[in-house]
């Protein structure tokens, strides 16, 4: 079972208590009435679907109820860090040891999945 650290509960809790809530750090435009349909589509629907490190909103739905942000690897499903909503993107270079090889394949991560 995947454990996720909730920055509000200040402890790791089971994934069963959480819901993913889309990409984080999406700037809501302040000029929506002036935007073209294409610009609105880009803001509202188009996401990068990153392979590797991504920033997501999560909600501790069956816990403290709070939304927070997570830096997560979409290949290994590893949570690099979680942080409270409203905080800036953390500097990943300080979070990822330089010696850690980037995991490239699903098979490579599954073989040593914890």
């Amino acid at each position: 079972m995947l454990l996720i650290y909730c920055p509000y509960c200040e402890e790791e809790r089971s994934e069963l208590e959480f819901r993913q809530a889309g990409d984080a750090h999406i700037a809501r435009p302040t000029n929506m009435t002036e935007m073209t349909d294409e610009e609105f589509e880009a803001f509202f629907f188009l996401r990068d679907n990153v392979k590797g490190l991504t920033y997501e909103r999560w909600r501790h739905l069956n816990g403290c109820g709070r939304f927070f942000n997570a830096a997560r690897d979409t290949v290994s499903d590893k949570f690099v860090t979680t942080y409270k909503a409203g905080l800036p993107k953390p500097d990943i270079s300080t979070l990822r040891p330089a010696t850690e090889a980037t995991v490239e394949t699903y098979e490579a991560t599954e073989s040593n999945a914890k």
Binding site: M1, C9, E10, E11, E17, N62, C64, G65
Partner: protein
């Protein structure tokens, strides 16, 4: 209301009326009716609400405060479940606080199962993934979590006793799942 002999009063059916179950290791019973508040407030309102309720609303995760049969359980940074086992009017109490807050009377939305015995942790862990060992979840600890498919609020009232709060519509499921797990807890 019972003193109104002969009056034609509607009777309320308790969701777990008469429920008993479990095993020698973990006995289950329905908690007595209580009044309950879902309380939400910003940090600057906490002291006035604490004064109005007669206990210090906890501000640390997984902690609770109790006084005279009333319990305030931390659910989130701005959210508490307040339970009064004496059925006191807590809506009136918080309304007099004079500070901005949101209070909803959920006395009848929730019900609770009391799980007691040396196997209480194991019985709840039958459907709940949280670490309930005494060091991590001591007496007085509380948290909103899941029990199988239902959301519950756990409150450890003694080393061997938990109060499991759930929505009344989930009571048959929660009590049934706990009953199964309690039977296994003795083995």
């Amino acid at each position: 209301m019972a003193d109104l002999i002969g009056a034609d009063l509607a009777t309320r059916t308790l969701p777990l009326a008469g429920f008993h179950g479990g095993s020698g290791a973990a006995s289950l019973s329905a908690a007595a009716p209580a009044t309950r508040l879902s309380l939400r407030a910003k940090p600057d309102a906490v002291s006035a609400l604490s004064l109005a309720l007669g206990l210090s609303l906890p501000t640390r995760p997984k902690t609770s405060a109790s006084a005279h049969g009333r319990h305030a359980l931390w659910l989130g940074p701005d959210e508490w479940l307040v339970i009064d086992e004496n059925g006191a009017d807590m809506m009136g109490a918080v309304a007099s606080s004079g500070v901005l807050h949101s209070a909803t009377d959920i006395s009848h939305r929730n019900t609770a199962v009391i799980v007691r015995g040396r196997g209480a942790e194991v019985a709840i862990n039958g459907g709940c993934p949280q670490d309930l060992s005494l060091g991590i979840f001591p007496v007085g600890a509380c948290s909103r979590t899941v029990l199988g498919k239902a959301e519950v609020v756990l409150f450890r009232t003694a080393e061997d006793t938990f109060r499991v709060e759930c929505w009344r519509s989930f009571a048959p499921y929660v009590s049934g799942l706990l009953n199964e797990a309690a039977e296994d807890a003795g083995n």
